[in-house]
Amino acid sequence: MGFRRTYEEINEKIKTGRVVVVTAEEIIPMVEEKGVEAVAREVDVVTTATFGPMCSTGAFLNFGHSDPPIKMTRVWLNDVPAYTGVAAVDAYIGATELSESAGFEYGGAHVIEDLISGKPVKLKATAYGTDCYPRREIETYITRDTINQAYLFNPRNAYQNYSVAVNSSDRIIYTYMGTLLPKLGNATYCSAGQLSPLLNDPYYRTIGIGTRIFLGGTQGYVAWEGTQHSPSVSRTEKGIPIGGAGTLALIGDLKQMDRRFIRAAVFHKYGVSMYVGVGIPIPILDEEMVQFVSVKDEDIHAPIVDYGVGRRSKPTYGTANYKELRSGKITINGKVVPTAPLSSLAKAREIAETLKTWIREGKFFVQRPVQSLPAEQLTKPLEIRQMNEFK
Protein backbone atom coordinates (compact mmCIF):
# COMPACT_ATOMS: atom_id res chain seq x y z
CA MET A 1 0.00 0.00 0.00
CA GLY A 2 1.13 3.53 -0.67
CA PHE A 3 4.19 4.84 -2.42
CA ARG A 4 7.41 2.76 -2.49
CA ARG A 5 10.93 3.28 -3.68
CA THR A 6 13.98 0.95 -3.66
CA TYR A 7 17.66 1.49 -2.88
CA GLU A 8 18.41 0.64 -6.51
CA GLU A 9 16.06 3.34 -7.79
CA ILE A 10 17.69 5.90 -5.52
CA ASN A 11 21.20 4.93 -6.62
CA GLU A 12 20.13 5.11 -10.26
CA LYS A 13 18.92 8.67 -9.63
CA ILE A 14 22.20 9.52 -7.88
CA LYS A 15 24.10 8.21 -10.90
CA THR A 16 22.08 10.30 -13.33
CA GLY A 17 22.08 13.40 -11.13
CA ARG A 18 18.31 13.48 -10.65
CA VAL A 19 18.26 12.61 -6.96
CA VAL A 20 16.40 14.91 -4.54
CA VAL A 21 18.15 15.26 -1.19
CA VAL A 22 17.25 17.46 1.77
CA THR A 23 18.42 17.55 5.38
CA ALA A 24 16.38 16.26 8.32
CA GLU A 25 15.78 19.89 9.32
CA GLU A 26 14.69 21.00 5.87
CA ILE A 27 12.14 18.22 5.51
CA ILE A 28 10.13 19.33 8.56
CA PRO A 29 8.49 22.43 6.99
CA MET A 30 8.13 20.55 3.68
CA VAL A 31 6.02 17.85 5.33
CA GLU A 32 3.97 20.47 7.17
CA GLU A 33 3.26 22.25 3.93
CA LYS A 34 2.79 19.43 1.41
CA GLY A 35 1.89 16.41 3.51
CA VAL A 36 3.56 13.04 3.93
CA GLU A 37 2.55 11.45 0.64
CA ALA A 38 3.66 14.28 -1.62
CA VAL A 39 7.01 14.55 0.18
CA ALA A 40 7.52 10.77 -0.07
CA ARG A 41 7.14 11.07 -3.86
CA GLU A 42 9.38 14.13 -4.12
CA VAL A 43 12.32 13.37 -1.81
CA ASP A 44 14.68 10.42 -2.29
CA VAL A 45 17.14 10.87 0.56
CA VAL A 46 17.25 12.80 3.85
CA THR A 47 20.61 13.52 5.45
CA THR A 48 21.10 13.39 9.23
CA ALA A 49 24.18 14.22 11.26
CA THR A 50 25.71 14.70 14.67
CA PHE A 51 28.97 16.13 16.02
CA GLY A 52 29.44 15.34 19.67
CA PRO A 53 31.94 13.99 22.17
CA MET A 54 32.13 10.21 21.76
CA CYS A 55 34.58 8.60 24.19
CA SER A 56 34.21 5.16 22.67
CA THR A 57 36.39 5.99 19.68
CA GLY A 58 39.78 4.68 18.59
CA ALA A 59 41.95 3.57 15.72
CA PHE A 60 43.56 0.34 14.58
CA LEU A 61 47.05 0.92 13.33
CA ASN A 62 49.37 -1.39 11.45
CA PHE A 63 52.85 0.11 11.54
CA GLY A 64 54.49 -2.11 8.92
CA HIS A 65 57.64 -4.12 9.68
CA SER A 66 61.01 -2.67 10.61
CA ASP A 67 64.36 -4.25 9.83
CA PRO A 68 65.24 -6.24 11.85
CA PRO A 69 61.58 -6.85 12.72
CA ILE A 70 59.97 -6.44 16.14
CA LYS A 71 57.00 -8.12 17.82
CA MET A 72 55.82 -5.12 19.80
CA THR A 73 54.69 -5.88 23.34
CA ARG A 74 54.28 -2.30 24.50
CA VAL A 75 53.63 0.70 22.28
CA TRP A 76 53.47 4.45 22.90
CA LEU A 77 52.42 7.13 20.45
CA ASN A 78 53.58 10.57 21.62
CA ASP A 79 53.80 8.97 25.08
CA VAL A 80 50.22 7.68 24.94
CA PRO A 81 50.06 3.89 25.45
CA ALA A 82 48.33 1.88 22.73
CA TYR A 83 47.10 -1.69 23.07
CA THR A 84 49.23 -4.16 21.20
CA GLY A 85 48.14 -7.53 22.51
CA VAL A 86 47.39 -8.51 18.92
CA ALA A 87 49.81 -9.40 16.10
CA ALA A 88 53.41 -8.11 15.93
CA VAL A 89 52.84 -4.61 14.55
CA ASP A 90 49.10 -4.13 15.10
CA ALA A 91 47.88 -1.76 17.79
CA TYR A 92 44.69 -0.04 18.90
CA ILE A 93 44.83 3.48 20.23
CA GLY A 94 41.81 4.46 22.29
CA ALA A 95 40.67 8.09 22.31
CA THR A 96 40.51 8.35 26.10
CA GLU A 97 43.96 6.88 26.85
CA LEU A 98 46.08 9.51 28.63
CA SER A 99 49.64 10.52 27.89
CA GLU A 100 52.19 9.29 30.43
CA SER A 101 53.89 12.70 30.38
CA ALA A 102 51.17 15.30 29.68
CA GLY A 103 48.33 13.67 31.65
CA PHE A 104 44.87 15.07 31.03
CA GLU A 105 45.99 17.57 28.44
CA TYR A 106 46.95 15.03 25.75
CA GLY A 107 45.58 11.61 24.98
CA GLY A 108 44.68 9.06 22.35
CA ALA A 109 42.22 11.46 20.72
CA HIS A 110 45.03 13.98 20.21
CA VAL A 111 47.22 11.28 18.63
CA ILE A 112 44.38 10.47 16.24
CA GLU A 113 43.85 14.15 15.43
CA ASP A 114 47.59 14.66 14.88
CA LEU A 115 47.71 11.68 12.52
CA ILE A 116 44.69 12.99 10.61
CA SER A 117 46.36 16.41 10.35
CA GLY A 118 49.44 14.82 8.80
CA LYS A 119 51.70 15.68 11.78
CA PRO A 120 54.59 13.36 12.66
CA VAL A 121 53.86 11.23 15.72
CA LYS A 122 56.58 9.58 17.80
CA LEU A 123 56.29 5.80 17.90
CA LYS A 124 58.09 3.95 20.66
CA ALA A 125 57.81 0.20 21.20
CA THR A 126 59.50 -2.42 23.32
CA ALA A 127 59.58 -6.21 22.95
CA TYR A 128 61.06 -9.34 24.50
CA GLY A 129 62.72 -10.47 21.26
CA THR A 130 62.13 -13.79 19.52
CA ASP A 131 63.95 -15.79 16.87
CA CYS A 132 61.82 -14.35 14.11
CA TYR A 133 61.42 -10.89 15.74
CA PRO A 134 64.86 -10.18 17.25
CA ARG A 135 64.51 -6.40 17.79
CA ARG A 136 63.76 -5.39 21.37
CA GLU A 137 62.98 -1.73 20.96
CA ILE A 138 62.29 0.88 18.36
CA GLU A 139 61.87 4.64 18.30
CA THR A 140 60.78 6.38 15.12
CA TYR A 141 58.26 8.83 13.69
CA ILE A 142 55.17 7.96 11.71
CA THR A 143 52.67 10.05 9.78
CA ARG A 144 49.37 9.39 8.11
CA ASP A 145 51.24 8.90 4.84
CA THR A 146 54.07 6.66 6.04
CA ILE A 147 52.08 4.29 8.24
CA ASN A 148 50.93 1.07 6.57
CA GLN A 149 47.28 1.27 7.63
CA ALA A 150 45.19 3.35 10.01
CA TYR A 151 41.45 3.14 10.38
CA LEU A 152 39.01 4.27 12.99
CA PHE A 153 37.00 1.61 14.69
CA ASN A 154 34.65 3.20 17.17
CA PRO A 155 32.84 0.75 19.43
CA ARG A 156 30.05 3.16 20.40
CA ASN A 157 29.06 6.31 18.51
CA ALA A 158 25.93 8.22 17.57
CA TYR A 159 23.86 7.54 20.69
CA GLN A 160 20.16 7.59 19.96
CA ASN A 161 19.13 10.35 22.36
CA TYR A 162 20.88 10.98 25.68
CA SER A 163 20.30 12.34 29.16
CA VAL A 164 20.27 15.96 30.27
CA ALA A 165 22.81 16.47 33.06
CA VAL A 166 22.30 18.51 36.23
CA ASN A 167 23.97 18.60 39.64
CA SER A 168 21.93 18.87 42.86
CA SER A 169 24.95 18.66 45.17
CA ASP A 170 26.41 21.79 46.74
CA ARG A 171 29.73 21.63 44.94
CA ILE A 172 30.75 22.15 41.34
CA ILE A 173 31.39 18.85 39.51
CA TYR A 174 33.38 18.11 36.37
CA THR A 175 31.90 15.40 34.17
CA TYR A 176 31.88 14.09 30.62
CA MET A 177 28.73 16.25 30.36
CA GLY A 178 30.85 19.32 31.06
CA THR A 179 31.08 21.51 34.15
CA LEU A 180 27.94 21.20 36.24
CA LEU A 181 27.26 24.01 38.67
CA PRO A 182 25.96 23.27 42.20
CA LYS A 183 22.31 23.31 43.24
CA LEU A 184 20.96 22.85 39.70
CA GLY A 185 22.94 25.88 38.51
CA ASN A 186 22.92 24.67 34.90
CA ALA A 187 21.88 21.78 32.68
CA THR A 188 23.80 20.36 29.73
CA TYR A 189 22.46 18.25 26.87
CA CYS A 190 24.17 16.34 24.13
CA SER A 191 22.31 15.41 20.97
CA ALA A 192 21.70 16.95 17.58
CA GLY A 193 17.97 16.44 18.32
CA GLN A 194 15.86 16.52 15.18
CA LEU A 195 18.97 16.25 12.99
CA SER A 196 20.43 13.27 14.86
CA PRO A 197 20.79 10.02 12.81
CA LEU A 198 19.12 7.37 14.98
CA LEU A 199 16.31 9.71 16.04
CA ASN A 200 15.29 9.92 12.38
CA ASP A 201 15.16 6.15 11.98
CA PRO A 202 13.98 5.15 15.44
CA TYR A 203 13.47 1.44 14.67
CA TYR A 204 16.60 1.04 12.50
CA ARG A 205 14.74 0.26 9.30
CA THR A 206 17.50 1.67 7.09
CA ILE A 207 20.47 2.06 9.45
CA GLY A 208 22.05 -1.34 10.00
CA ILE A 209 25.24 -3.31 9.50
CA GLY A 210 26.86 -2.22 6.25
CA THR A 211 25.14 1.18 5.97
CA ARG A 212 27.46 3.62 4.21
CA ILE A 213 27.91 6.82 6.22
CA PHE A 214 29.91 10.02 6.61
CA LEU A 215 32.58 9.54 9.29
CA GLY A 216 35.07 12.24 10.21
CA GLY A 217 35.04 13.79 6.75
CA THR A 218 35.13 10.64 4.63
CA GLN A 219 32.99 7.63 3.78
CA GLY A 220 32.69 5.01 6.47
CA TYR A 221 30.38 2.17 7.42
CA VAL A 222 28.26 0.89 10.26
CA ALA A 223 30.21 -2.18 11.41
CA TRP A 224 27.94 -3.54 14.11
CA GLU A 225 25.53 -2.48 16.81
CA GLY A 226 27.39 -0.18 19.20
CA THR A 227 28.32 -1.26 22.72
CA GLN A 228 25.49 -0.65 25.18
CA HIS A 229 23.00 -0.76 22.26
CA SER A 230 19.77 -0.73 24.21
CA PRO A 231 16.74 -0.34 21.93
CA SER A 232 14.21 -1.71 24.45
CA VAL A 233 14.13 1.42 26.63
CA SER A 234 10.77 3.16 26.98
CA ARG A 235 9.62 5.16 23.97
CA THR A 236 7.07 7.86 23.22
CA GLU A 237 3.96 7.18 21.16
CA LYS A 238 5.92 8.16 18.05
CA GLY A 239 8.58 5.58 18.85
CA ILE A 240 11.25 8.00 20.05
CA PRO A 241 13.29 6.51 22.89
CA ILE A 242 13.30 8.55 26.08
CA GLY A 243 17.02 8.71 26.83
CA GLY A 244 19.99 6.72 25.51
CA ALA A 245 18.94 3.73 23.38
CA GLY A 246 20.48 2.48 20.14
CA THR A 247 24.18 2.97 19.38
CA LEU A 248 26.45 2.23 16.42
CA ALA A 249 29.93 0.78 15.98
CA LEU A 250 31.53 2.68 13.11
CA ILE A 251 34.51 2.13 10.87
CA GLY A 252 36.33 4.36 8.38
CA ASP A 253 39.73 5.16 6.90
CA LEU A 254 41.63 7.56 9.17
CA LYS A 255 43.94 8.53 6.29
CA GLN A 256 41.02 10.12 4.41
CA MET A 257 39.61 12.05 7.38
CA ASP A 258 39.63 15.79 7.95
CA ARG A 259 40.13 17.44 11.34
CA ARG A 260 37.30 19.84 10.57
CA PHE A 261 35.01 16.89 11.33
CA ILE A 262 36.83 15.08 14.12
CA ARG A 263 38.55 16.76 17.06
CA ALA A 264 40.27 15.84 20.30
CA ALA A 265 38.70 17.24 23.46
CA VAL A 266 39.56 17.55 27.14
CA PHE A 267 36.81 17.49 29.72
CA HIS A 268 38.23 19.27 32.74
CA LYS A 269 39.05 16.89 35.61
CA TYR A 270 37.37 14.05 33.69
CA GLY A 271 39.72 13.18 30.86
CA VAL A 272 40.19 13.10 27.13
CA SER A 273 37.42 12.43 24.63
CA MET A 274 36.86 12.94 20.95
CA TYR A 275 34.32 14.95 19.00
CA VAL A 276 33.30 12.74 16.09
CA GLY A 277 31.32 13.90 13.09
CA VAL A 278 28.83 11.33 11.83
CA GLY A 279 26.38 11.77 8.96
CA ILE A 280 23.89 9.15 7.85
CA PRO A 281 21.69 9.29 4.74
CA ILE A 282 18.17 7.98 5.17
CA PRO A 283 16.56 6.61 2.02
CA ILE A 284 12.89 7.50 1.69
CA LEU A 285 11.57 4.03 0.92
CA ASP A 286 7.95 4.85 1.69
CA GLU A 287 5.65 7.16 3.61
CA GLU A 288 6.57 5.65 6.94
CA MET A 289 10.16 6.86 6.44
CA VAL A 290 8.85 10.39 5.82
CA GLN A 291 7.01 10.20 9.10
CA PHE A 292 10.19 9.11 10.87
CA VAL A 293 12.43 11.79 9.37
CA SER A 294 9.98 14.57 10.13
CA VAL A 295 10.60 14.14 13.87
CA LYS A 296 10.86 17.52 15.60
CA ASP A 297 12.80 18.74 18.61
CA GLU A 298 9.59 18.95 20.63
CA ASP A 299 8.94 15.22 20.01
CA ILE A 300 12.28 14.25 21.53
CA HIS A 301 12.30 13.93 25.30
CA ALA A 302 15.36 13.35 27.44
CA PRO A 303 15.49 12.44 31.13
CA ILE A 304 17.02 15.07 33.42
CA VAL A 305 19.63 13.12 35.38
CA ASP A 306 21.37 14.19 38.59
CA TYR A 307 25.10 13.70 38.08
CA GLY A 308 25.64 15.02 41.60
CA VAL A 309 24.97 11.44 42.77
CA GLY A 310 27.95 9.23 41.95
CA ARG A 311 26.07 5.96 41.66
CA ARG A 312 25.00 3.79 38.73
CA SER A 313 21.36 4.69 39.01
CA LYS A 314 21.01 8.39 39.49
CA PRO A 315 17.87 10.26 40.51
CA THR A 316 16.00 11.99 37.70
CA TYR A 317 13.84 15.13 37.58
CA GLY A 318 11.37 14.21 34.87
CA THR A 319 12.14 14.95 31.23
CA ALA A 320 12.73 17.94 28.97
CA ASN A 321 12.22 18.08 25.22
CA TYR A 322 14.75 19.46 22.78
CA LYS A 323 12.70 22.50 21.92
CA GLU A 324 12.78 23.51 25.58
CA LEU A 325 16.46 22.66 25.89
CA ARG A 326 17.30 24.77 22.84
CA SER A 327 15.32 27.72 24.25
CA GLY A 328 18.15 28.24 26.78
CA LYS A 329 16.25 27.37 29.94
CA ILE A 330 14.17 24.64 31.49
CA THR A 331 12.22 24.54 34.72
CA ILE A 332 13.07 21.91 37.32
CA ASN A 333 10.94 21.77 40.48
CA GLY A 334 9.88 25.37 39.86
CA LYS A 335 13.45 26.59 39.44
CA VAL A 336 14.57 28.10 36.13
CA VAL A 337 17.79 26.40 35.04
CA PRO A 338 19.90 27.68 32.12
CA THR A 339 20.75 25.03 29.52
CA ALA A 340 23.82 24.59 27.33
CA PRO A 341 24.63 22.16 24.54
CA LEU A 342 27.74 19.98 24.31
CA SER A 343 27.25 18.62 20.84
CA SER A 344 27.65 21.13 18.03
CA LEU A 345 24.52 21.75 16.00
CA ALA A 346 26.43 24.10 13.68
CA LYS A 347 28.88 21.30 12.82
CA ALA A 348 26.09 18.73 12.49
CA ARG A 349 24.42 21.04 9.96
CA GLU A 350 27.69 21.39 8.07
CA ILE A 351 27.97 17.58 7.91
CA ALA A 352 24.35 17.13 6.77
CA GLU A 353 24.99 19.73 4.03
CA THR A 354 28.28 18.10 2.99
CA LEU A 355 26.65 14.69 2.72
CA LYS A 356 23.83 16.24 0.69
CA THR A 357 26.38 17.68 -1.75
CA TRP A 358 28.24 14.37 -2.06
CA ILE A 359 25.01 12.57 -2.93
CA ARG A 360 23.90 15.25 -5.39
CA GLU A 361 27.28 15.19 -7.09
CA GLY A 362 27.10 11.43 -7.52
CA LYS A 363 29.98 10.71 -5.10
CA PHE A 364 28.04 8.87 -2.44
CA PHE A 365 25.51 6.05 -2.86
CA VAL A 366 23.06 4.64 -0.36
CA GLN A 367 23.70 1.11 0.85
CA ARG A 368 21.05 -1.34 2.00
CA PRO A 369 22.10 -2.87 5.36
CA VAL A 370 23.35 -6.45 5.09
CA GLN A 371 21.75 -7.13 8.44
CA SER A 372 19.48 -5.18 10.76
CA LEU A 373 20.54 -4.05 14.21
CA PRO A 374 18.94 -5.88 17.14
CA ALA A 375 15.50 -4.40 17.76
CA GLU A 376 15.18 -5.70 21.30
CA GLN A 377 17.93 -5.63 23.86
CA LEU A 378 18.73 -4.02 27.20
CA THR A 379 22.12 -3.27 28.74
CA LYS A 380 23.21 -5.69 31.44
CA PRO A 381 24.82 -4.16 34.53
CA LEU A 382 28.03 -5.45 36.09
CA GLU A 383 27.42 -6.95 39.52
CA ILE A 384 30.03 -8.00 42.05
CA ARG A 385 29.77 -11.79 42.20
CA GLN A 386 31.66 -14.64 43.83
CA MET A 387 32.79 -17.74 41.97
CA ASN A 388 30.56 -19.99 44.06
CA GLU A 389 27.43 -18.16 42.87
CA PHE A 390 27.81 -19.91 39.52
CA LYS A 391 27.78 -23.45 40.93
Partner: protein
Protein backbone atom coordinates in the same frame (compact mmCIF):
# COMPACT_ATOMS: atom_id res chain seq x y z
CA UNK B 1 30.72 60.32 32.52
CA UNK B 2 33.87 58.71 33.99
CA UNK B 3 33.80 54.94 34.43
CA UNK B 4 36.19 52.42 35.87
CA UNK B 5 36.03 48.64 36.21
CA UNK B 6 37.80 47.27 39.26
CA UNK B 7 38.23 43.97 41.09
CA UNK B 8 37.87 44.08 44.88
CA UNK B 9 39.19 41.36 47.14
CA UNK B 10 38.42 41.70 50.81
CA UNK B 11 39.31 39.65 53.88
CA UNK B 12 36.68 37.64 55.80
CA UNK B 13 36.44 40.34 58.51
CA UNK B 14 35.24 42.87 55.92
CA UNK B 15 32.59 40.76 54.29
CA UNK B 16 29.76 42.12 56.38
CA UNK B 17 30.68 45.83 56.19
CA UNK B 18 28.39 48.08 54.15
CA UNK B 19 31.13 49.18 51.75
CA UNK B 20 29.04 49.73 48.67
CA UNK B 21 26.57 51.80 50.65
CA UNK B 22 29.39 54.16 51.71
CA UNK B 23 30.61 54.45 48.12
CA UNK B 24 27.19 55.56 47.04
CA UNK B 25 26.47 57.85 49.95
CA UNK B 26 29.86 59.46 50.68
CA UNK B 27 31.32 59.61 47.18
CA UNK B 28 28.20 59.82 45.04
CA UNK B 29 29.32 56.92 42.90
CA UNK B 30 26.99 54.85 40.78
CA UNK B 31 27.87 51.18 41.18
CA UNK B 32 27.23 48.44 38.75
CA UNK B 33 28.01 45.04 40.27
CA UNK B 34 29.33 42.78 37.53
CA UNK B 35 30.25 39.81 39.67
CA UNK B 36 30.07 38.98 43.34
CA UNK B 37 31.34 36.05 45.31
CA UNK B 38 30.84 36.73 48.95
CA UNK B 39 30.72 33.82 51.35
CA UNK B 40 30.45 34.57 55.10
CA UNK B 41 33.76 33.80 56.87
CA UNK B 42 35.67 33.59 53.57
CA UNK B 43 37.33 36.30 51.54
CA UNK B 44 35.03 37.99 49.06
CA UNK B 45 35.52 39.00 45.46
CA UNK B 46 33.56 41.69 43.78
CA UNK B 47 33.90 43.05 40.27
CA UNK B 48 32.26 46.46 39.96
CA UNK B 49 32.00 49.34 37.58
CA UNK B 50 32.13 52.77 39.24
CA UNK B 51 30.82 55.84 37.50
CA UNK B 52 30.55 59.51 38.33
CA UNK B 53 30.89 62.71 36.34
CA UNK B 54 34.27 63.32 37.97
CA UNK B 55 37.40 61.12 37.96
CA UNK B 56 38.23 62.69 41.34
CA UNK B 57 35.24 61.08 43.07
CA UNK B 58 36.19 57.70 41.65
CA UNK B 59 39.76 58.09 42.90
CA UNK B 60 38.52 59.16 46.33
CA UNK B 61 36.20 56.15 46.47
CA UNK B 62 39.03 53.80 45.60
CA UNK B 63 41.27 55.42 48.24
CA UNK B 64 38.53 54.89 50.79
CA UNK B 65 38.28 51.19 49.89
CA UNK B 66 42.02 50.73 50.18
CA UNK B 67 42.02 52.44 53.58
CA UNK B 68 39.44 49.89 54.70
CA UNK B 69 41.83 47.03 53.83
CA UNK B 70 40.27 46.07 50.53
CA UNK B 71 42.63 45.16 47.74
CA UNK B 72 41.69 47.03 44.56
CA UNK B 73 42.94 46.04 41.11
CA UNK B 74 41.91 47.30 37.72
CA UNK B 75 40.03 44.77 35.62
CA UNK B 76 42.82 44.42 33.13
CA UNK B 77 42.72 40.75 32.27
CA UNK B 78 40.98 39.76 29.11
CA UNK B 79 39.45 36.58 27.79
CA UNK B 80 40.77 35.45 24.42
CA UNK B 81 38.70 33.11 22.28
CA UNK B 82 40.38 31.46 19.29
CA UNK B 83 37.34 31.67 17.05
CA UNK B 84 38.74 29.85 14.02
CA UNK B 85 39.48 26.75 16.12
CA UNK B 86 36.01 26.81 17.70
CA UNK B 87 33.68 23.88 16.96
CA UNK B 88 30.67 25.75 18.38
CA UNK B 89 29.82 23.03 20.85
CA UNK B 90 28.53 25.43 23.50
CA UNK B 91 30.20 23.77 26.50
CA UNK B 92 31.63 27.14 27.60
CA UNK B 93 28.18 28.74 27.71
CA UNK B 94 27.19 26.36 30.52
CA UNK B 95 29.37 28.23 33.01
CA UNK B 96 29.12 31.81 31.77
CA UNK B 97 26.82 33.56 34.26
CA UNK B 98 27.13 36.94 32.65
CA UNK B 99 25.90 35.80 29.21
CA UNK B 100 29.09 37.07 27.59
CA UNK B 101 29.38 33.71 25.82
CA UNK B 102 26.16 32.62 24.19
CA UNK B 103 24.88 30.59 21.28
CA UNK B 104 23.31 32.47 18.40
CA UNK B 105 19.83 30.88 18.29
CA UNK B 106 19.74 30.94 14.46
CA UNK B 107 23.18 29.73 13.45
CA UNK B 108 24.02 27.89 16.71
CA UNK B 109 27.45 29.42 16.54
CA UNK B 110 29.17 30.83 19.61
CA UNK B 111 29.19 34.58 20.12
CA UNK B 112 31.28 36.54 22.60
CA UNK B 113 30.22 39.89 23.99
CA UNK B 114 33.41 41.22 25.55
CA UNK B 115 31.62 44.05 27.34
CA UNK B 116 29.61 41.60 29.41
CA UNK B 117 32.66 39.55 30.40
CA UNK B 118 33.69 39.84 34.05
CA UNK B 119 36.80 37.68 33.58
CA UNK B 120 35.70 35.09 36.12
CA UNK B 121 37.69 32.58 34.02
CA UNK B 122 35.13 29.81 34.46
CA UNK B 123 35.02 29.24 30.70
CA UNK B 124 38.77 28.57 30.43
CA UNK B 125 38.74 25.00 31.79
CA UNK B 126 35.17 24.41 30.57
CA UNK B 127 36.19 24.55 26.90
CA UNK B 128 37.03 21.01 25.78
CA UNK B 129 39.06 22.32 22.85
CA UNK B 130 41.27 24.43 25.14
CA UNK B 131 40.87 27.51 22.95
CA UNK B 132 39.83 30.03 25.61
CA UNK B 133 42.64 31.69 27.52
CA UNK B 134 43.25 34.72 29.76
CA UNK B 135 45.64 37.44 28.73
CA UNK B 136 47.13 40.06 31.02
Amino acid sequence: MAKRRIVLTFPPSMVEKPLTYRLVKDFDLAINILYARIVPRESGRLVIELSNSSEENINAGIRFLEEQGVSVEPLSKEIRWDEKECINCGACTAVCHSDALYMNPETWKLEFDKDKCIVCEMCVPACPLRIISVTF
